[in-house]
């Protein structure tokens, strides 16, 4: 009902527009359509008014209110038309029954006709059709074709280019000549009761034979046939433009000359001009396409104007081709096809969205306006109806279409791998809709030269109506009845993308072996050329040979991240709003970083040595929170394949708008979290076997000897354990949880080590183990459970070969770990939290009183999502180890931001992207790797009852106290581990290379742990 009401409203509005349109028409005669006339009229009226006003009354008062419609008339009426057409469109979609039965194009034409009738009766004798060929060709058509070209599935298009060209060129010529000669032949019999000169008939045949891209799009978008069928018909409708243009101009010129004056030269030049028009249009389009790519290469400083280049340059390509009477449609199509790949790589994500939406919007509204105008233009009194002529034209159009398709399809099948079967042939011929292009062309015919022009107009309209209405309406049920393979639009998965690329390469290789130059060979060759010569020139940030793989990867991971965060965040209700990307990013980085990476985790636990956390006891609420969180993340998060079943050209799916630059590290984490599910199952198994599997980094590793504090925490934890045996049990117990390795929350165990199968798995396990291992040592007095696990530790560790001077095996083999690790270290070192100590101490004082939420470190480690405020604060050392929200924001990095320190050094240049950042840091690795080696060494002699603890802070160079020098000392320590004095035991070893604040505070505060760096050194 509402929809109907709206439609009625639209109608009423349109009529109103029509009235507004017509009143001035009575006097101004179509001013709105003919620019120059308007200008004249305007100037006339505007000169009149001042003349009337100023000269007669010299001192006219300033008017409070005045009306001047003439000045805004043209744009106002155009605006109203578009508005009303769109309104009508909305109306259809609110009446589902109607829009299900009829294609949109039909409904729009009907509305147009109704309006046309109304206008016709309100204003007599004026031609009301606003659809002049020039408006159509210069303003309405280009957006639609650009949209088609820009979003053309390139691969599909070029795979079937041969077939498409066959249909577009040979098919169209065949149709034109066949229709023309048939009509002429019938005309000879006198059936039409008017003279039918052969050339006029050929002219008519050539314009009425062309399949119309707008009509085809409008119908095929709705029936969702399979992509091959779609691309063949649609590609034909695009590419036959060149043929139509040439044939049309050729026959127009011939009929101007008269049949007697045509020499063979004219025919030859007509044929030659076909190649000029087609190739010229294509070349112009391609050149403009490359130019667009080149221009967008430099727009990264002014992102806002990126989209305009795409539109304007494509439009210029169109006009440029029209200047030389080349095929504008070909030009803009190929411009879109060419520019797409390069432009997409250059422009920002937001620009991409803008382009997409704007293009869809433009083409959609142009299409609406075209169909509506078509309806309006139908109603006039210039028609000259000749039943036989109309009927026979419709008949010939249909019959020859069928014949042409059948012949050409069987011809094409000889060269095609995919054979077009009968049903497909039928749909192809049935889908040959005529449309506005033919209508615009027929309007262009000069009445003085071709007397039959009124007949042609009427007949063309009839043909269009027949194809759009009859075929357009029936094609949908027919497709259903004939069981045509439907399109299945979906995003490729990673596997599909990669394996299909592989197949491409295989096939190309095979063609080479066979010595044939087929599709694959040509594509392969072009891709090589493209990668080698074109891309470096046109793309700012060239990503290498297979951008698609990267793109798919980014899209998928981004989608998963969003999905994951949306689900979890909303269920947990910890984050009120997940709308903004930045929130999402922050959330997921924070939630994941320490939970999934064993290395990260180690580091985080190391940093938790802050004295403050001794006073921390996780409240019941926090623990329950943790439990719920883990449960939810387990249950809810599955990477799912999304299938989009339907596709509409004018629907822009938000999922399509994935980002281009992605924080890969973060994605890994996302994935790891998600994959945590598998691990968790395994860990559950282990649990059943009686092995403890959960460790609690933040608490277990804190550097204290205050046993009672520990006892308290442990009590708390055990309580929670007893409450809930299986999930998210933060207990200190499980250190050697076999393959689980690492310090893990149950819900999110370390990523790679799901099974003992692969090498990498084994490797990743060990670093985690090694770092953990010292832990039991200081828990010895505390918990019996840890003892047993401790004793088994050496066994786990031993498989490591030589750790001494090399990066750990895991690091060597798993570069992303290494860089992660290093990032963390760098962060810790560069952000010397020294100056913040006072504040911390005071907070610690507070925390002694109410020990729950004040200390950030432990809580944060336990409950990562509690940490969302950290990005802003940046005060605590803990926070540095993960990537806060702003770090995923590329633009943020460009400015002077905490990122400069965060990224590991003021002296280092700022990096534009996070990816670059990682890359850079991984090169810094060696140093870090050595530090790790030291740690490994320590862990190699775990059997010694003395906790192998390294306090690593030898006083280094004054300004940057904590960093590299300390690491050096660590190495020494690693070499000579054993004689570490008992008192040092209190400090956890791996923490050594980490944060200075705890060390300092410790020095100041504690008796047992009071040894300073110097003491420690002397001990060594």
């Amino acid at each position: 009902m509402r929809g109907a009401a709206l439609a009625v409203l639209a109608l009423a509005a349109v009529v109103a527009v029509g009235a507004a349109n017509n009143v001035p028409h009575l006097t101004q005669n179509l001013a709105s359509q003919r620019g120059y006339e308007l200008v004249e009229d305007q100037s006339a009226s505007s000169t009149e008014e001042p003349a009337g006003g100023n000269h007669k009354k010299d001192h006219d008062r300033y008017p409070v209110f005045s009306v001047e419609f003439a000045r805004v008339e043209t744009p106002f009426i155009i605006g109203l038309w578009i508005f009303c057409a769109s309104l009508a469109k909305i109306g259809f979609h609110m009446t589902p029954k109607l829009s299900k039965m009829f294609p949109e194009s039909c409904l729009l034409i009907v509305v147009g006709v109704v309006i046309g009738v109304l206008l016709f009766h309100t204003s007599s004798g004026v031609q009301v059709s606003p659809l002049t060929p020039d408006t159509f060709f210069l303003y309405l058509l280009p957006p639609i074709i650009l949209d088609a070209g820009y979003f053309m599935p390139n691969r599909l298009f070029f795979d079937h280019l041969g077939t498409i060209l066959l249909f577009a060129v040979v098919g169209t010529i065949f149709n034109a000549i066949a229709i023309g000669t048939s009509l002429w032949a019938v005309g000879q019999s006198g059936l039409f009761e008017f003279d039918t000169p052969i050339l006029d008939m050929m002219l008519f045949g050539s314009l009425v034979s062309a399949v119309d891209p707008v009509a085809v799009l409008a119908v095929f978008e709705e029936i969702h046939v399979n992509e091959i069928l779609y691309i063949v018909v649609f590609g034909e409708s695009l590419l036959n433009d060149a043929v139509t243009v040439v044939l049309y101009h050729m026959f127009e010129a011939y009929s101007e000359m008269g049949p007697a004056n045509i020499l063979p030269v004219d025919v030859a030049s007509g044929i030659a001009s076909f190649f000029v028009v087609a190739l010229g249009g294509t070349v112009i389009g391609v050149i403009w396409g490359f130019l667009t790519g080149f221009v967008t290469r430099f727009t990264h400083q002014v992102r806002v104007i990126e989209p305009i280049f795409i539109f304007v340059m494509a439009y210029l390509a169109y006009l440029n081709a029209e200047i030389f009477h080349m095929s504008g449609i070909l030009a803009i199509t190929f411009c879109g096809i060419t520019m797409k790949n390069y432009v997409e790589a250059n422009i920002s994500h937001k620009s991409h969205t803008t382009v997409k939406y704007a293009m869809k919007m433009l083409s959609s509204s142009c299409e609406t306006v075209i169909f509506m105008f078509l309806g309006v233009a139908t109603v006039n009194n210039a028609h000259s109806w000749n039943t036989w002529f109309v009927l026979l034209t419709v008949l010939f159009c249909t019959v020859y279409r069928f014949i042409g398709v059948m012949i050409l399809a069987s011809l094409a099948n000889k060269f095609r791998l995919h054979q077009l079967n009968g049903v497909e042939k039928f749909v192809m011929s049935y889908g040959g809709l005529r449309g506005a292009v033919a209508f615009a062309l027929v309007l262009l015919i000069d009445k003085k030269i071709v007397n039959l022009q009124p007949h042609f107009v009427t007949t063309t309209i009839a043909v269009i109506y027949f194809t759009v209405f009859f075929q357009g309406i029936t094609i949908k049920p027919l497709v259903r009845i004939l069981n045509v393979k439907r399109a299945e639009k979906r995003k490729p998965t990673m596997n599909e993308r990669i394996h299909e690329k592989l197949m491409d390469h295989i096939m190309a290789g095979l063609e080479d072996v066979l010595g044939r130059h087929g599709n694959y060979h040509v594509r392969d060759r072009f891709k090589r050329f493209d990668t080698k010569y074109i891309r470096p020139w046109l793309i700012r940030d060239n990503k290498g040979a297979e951008p698609k793989i990267l793109e798919t990867y980014s899209k998928l991971t981004m989608k998963e991240a969003m999905e994951y965060m949306r689900r979890n965040a909303s269920t947990i209700a910890a984050f009120p709003g997940t709308e903004s990307m930045s929130t999402l990013f922050r959330n997921c980085t924070q939630t994941n970083m320490d939970a999934s990476f064993s290395f990260t985790q180690l580091d985080s636990s190391v940093q938790n040595l802050d004295m403050q956390e001794l006073e921390y006891n996780p409240s019941k609420k926090d623990l329950t929170d943790a439990k719920i969180h883990h449960l939810l993340s387990e249950e809810l998060c599955k990477p799912r394949r999304h299938r989009r079943l339907s596709y509409s050209r004018h629907a822009v799916n938000d999922r399509d708008l994935s980002t281009q630059e992605v924080n890969y590290k973060m994605h890994m984490n996302m994935r790891h979290i998600i994959s945590g599910k598998h691990h968790h199952k395994r860990s559950k198994k282990l649990n059943k076997e009686g092995k403890p599997h959960v460790s609690f980094p933040g608490i277990t590793q804190n550097g204290s000897v205050k046993q009672f504090t520990h006892d308290y925490i442990n009590e708390m934890l055990e309580e929670s354990d007893s409450n809930d045996v299986d999930e998210a049990r933060p207990s200190t117990s499980g250190l050697n949880d076999g393959p689980e390795g690492g310090i893990v929350f149950t819900a999110k165990s370390t990523p790679t080590n799901t099974g003992p199968v692969s090498n990498s798995n084994l490797l990743t396990v060990h670093p985690g183990q090694t770092h953990q291992q010292p832990r039991p040592n200081w828990h010895l007095p505390l918990k019996q459970t840890t003892l047993s696990s401790c004793s088994s530790a050496p066994g786990v560790v031993s498989p490591h070969p030589n750790h001494n001077d090399q990066p750990t095996v895991a690091e060597a083999s798993l570069p992303w770990r290494r860089s992660q690790h290093i990032t963390d270290e760098a962060v810790v070192h560069t952000e010397d939290p020294h100056p913040k100590d006072p504040g911390k101490r005071s907070s610690r004082a507070d925390s002694e009183e109410e020990a729950v939420h004040v200390t950030p470190t432990a809580t944060e480690t336990v409950l990562p999502w509690k940490r969302d405020d950290e990005a802003e604060q940046c005060t605590f050392p803990l926070k540095q180890q993960e990537f806060p929200g702003w770090c995923s924001n590329k633009e943020y990095l460009a400015y002077n931001s905490p990122s400069s320190t965060f990224l590991g050094g003021l002296d280092q240049p700022k990096v534009a992207s996070v990816i670059g950042l990682f890359r850079r840091e991984s090169t810094v690795d060696q140093e870090m790797a050595r530090a790790d080696a030291a740690i490994l060494v320590i862990e190699e002699c775990p059997a010694s009852p003395v906790p192998s603890v390294v306090v690593c802070g030898t006083p280094p160079a004054p300004p940057k106290r904590p960093s590299s020098a300390r690491r050096g000392s660590l190495l020494e320590l690693g070499a000579s581990v054993d004689p570490i004095p008992e008192e040092e035991a209190g400090t956890p070893e791996s923490s050594a290379n980490k944060s200075p604040p705890w060390a300092q505070r410790r020095r100041r505060k504690q008796g047992a742990c009071s040894s300073s760096y110097e003491d420690f050194r002397s001990n060594v």
């Binding site: 060269f415 791998l417 995919h418 299945e488 979906r490 998965t493 990673m494 596997n495 599909e496 990669i498 394996h499 299909e500 592989l502 197949m503 491409d504 390469h505 295989i506 096939m507 190309a508 290789g509 095979l510 063609e511 080479d512 072996v513 066979l514 010595g515 044939r516 087929g518 060979h521 392969d524 060239n542 990503k543 290498g544 040979a545 297979e546 793989i549 990267l550 990867y553 998928l556 991971t557 890969y664 590290k665 994605h667 890994m668 994935r671 598998h678 790679t752 799901t754 099974g755 199968v757 692969s758 990498s760 798995n761 798993l814 570069p815 992303w816 990816i915 990682f918 890359r919 991984s922």
Partner: protein, 189 residues
């Protein structure tokens, strides 16, 4: 030179090859002339070098693997014409009502799978996938990105949780891909 030797293909040989591979005699003749023109040594067999001498194949990022695939079932360093044809038979388009084993969907998938599976343990490990990715993508992408892509890919396809892609998982992952089309080539008659 090469073309003259194609005359040496005897009727019974053609019949035998036709039976085993499903190629028509014309196709066999054609391919034999190609075979002999590749066979520089005129010894009736092709060596790896013979294949790698094809310029385009040499710059194909997967050229080595493709050549390797030709030699997998053979006796080592050289293949004879029958073996050559048997590999090519994988890529014959599938025709209804003619079911030969070599060009079934599964065989095509198997061929692609073997591209990855260097150690032929029936599984694609992370490293194997990574190796292929490196070949295809080239050097412009950092290793860590590639690694994460590889892991992501394996994770996506991995159903039994062993961090590898088995052949069954591989087939599942490509369930919706038109492998029959993608891995077929039109052999001229």
């Amino acid at each position: 030179m090469g073309n003259t030797s194609s005359l040496l293909l005897r009727e019974d040989e053609i019949a035998q090859i036709q039976e085993k591979t499903g190629f028509t005699p014309n196709q066999i003749e054609r391919l034999y002339s190609r075979f002999t023109s590749l066979d520089r040594g005129n010894c009736g067999t092709l060596s790896r070098e013979d294949l790698l001498r094809i310029p385009e194949l040499a710059i194909n990022p997967l050229g080595d693997r493709i050549v390797h695939a030709f030699f997998q079932e053979g006796t080592g360093d050289s293949i004879n014409f029958l073996q050559f044809m048997q590999v090519l038979a994988h890529f014959r388009p599938i025709k209804k009502n003619k079911d030969l084993k070599l060009n079934s969907r599964e065989q095509k998938l198997k061929f692609a799978f073997k591209m990855y599976d260097l150690d032929s343990d029936g599984k694609i490990s992370r490293d194997e996938l990574l190796a292929i990715l490196q070949m295809m993508v080239g050097s412009n992408i950092s290793e860590e990105q590639l690694t994460s892509i590889a892991e992501r890919t394996i994770f996506e396809a991995d159903q039994d949780g062993d961090q590898m892609i088995s052949f069954a998982e591989f087939c599942n992952a490509l369930e919706r891909t038109d492998v029959e089309q993608k891995m077929s080539i039109r052999f001229l008659n």
